[in-house]
């Protein structure tokens, strides 16, 4: 589990090894020529954060292990958990899922207007094999995940 005080710098909270997590999420698709992650144009007048080009993105690549989540997301992650048996959005606890999303392509400035923030929309499957799109918004200044959802197809 990751919190504001405990960045994602330890083992995957689901207990998954990189290999196992890779199997679990190996259907997370890389961006295709028709466009998914990183191809949504920000709204006109967007004052969101800078978005690196593909060239410099490699130099400034975000590491999921360095990200934290807002207290609000953290609260939602923990709200219904009883004895660890009740997790409604398990993907939110997978560092490797987050890294896969980040690695899928360049993000865009957050179209919702969160300052200094970027967004990825990446097709994939969740742990129950539902097809959908991962949505991830990260504030680059605070290295904080502001929004992380999975929208069904």
């Amino acid at each position: 589990m990751f919190t504001n005080d405990d960045p994602l710098n330890e083992e995957d909270p689901l207990g998954l090894t990189p290999e196992a997590d890779g199997e679990m999420f190996n259907e997370l698709e890389a961006p295709d020529p028709d466009g998914w992650a990183g191809e949504t144009e920000p709204e006109e007048g967007n004052s969101g954060g800078n978005v690196g080009s593909k060239e410099n993105n490699n130099d400034t690549k975000i590491k999921a292990t360095e990200l934290k989540v807002t207290d609000t997301i953290q609260q939602e992650m923990e709200k219904y958990v009883k004895d660890g048996a009740r997790i409604d959005r398990p993907y939110q606890r997978s560092v490797l899922t987050i890294q896969n999303i980040i690695d899928s392509g360049d993000p865009v400035a957050d179209p919702g207007g969160a300052p200094d923030s970027v967004r990825w929309d990446v097709r994939g499957y969740n742990e129950s094999d539902n097809e959908g799109t991962y949505e991830l918004v990260v504030n680059l200044k605070t290295m904080t995940i502001l929004h992380f959802g999975f929208v069904g197809k």
Binding site: T70, D88, P111, G112, A114, L146, V151
Partner: protein, 162 residues
Amino acid sequence: MPLEFSASEGDALGGLLFYLESEYSFRFEAGSPVDLSDRVGNGGVTSLLIGTLQIEVSVDSTAILYIWGLHPKSRWETGPVTAPSQEAGVVRLSGDVSLNRGVSLKIAEVGRWKTTFDSTSGWVRVSEDNLDDERQILVASDTVLGIRDNSLNTIWLRPLLI
């Protein structure tokens, strides 16, 4: 196919609604975790998304629970927002809808619905086209859903700004 909503008698979920400037997000803290858990049931939750604003829903009952999530204030307009009527009740998704735990449904893309904030009344109105609601149901503290033609027409929120 648009989602359909229906309202029925019931008690609003008690709690506190916040807007956290530092997180650009709404947060709802239930007054009674037991009450919330009872409303959720065993099937877990998912959410309906208006941009990144999340309408939390019980998968079992399809009842709307509360509102939370990223909704940056920088995109809000300011203007008069009068308080809606606050008839307590329960709003559920109706019709042929299938919910899966943790798999959100998108109602509108980012920026499609407009948000208006009135600093005097404290109310925030989120709506697509400002049409009048046929019914306004208080589903959780300081959280009113406006229904029109069996569709979600407006979200009314009066958060504590922190």
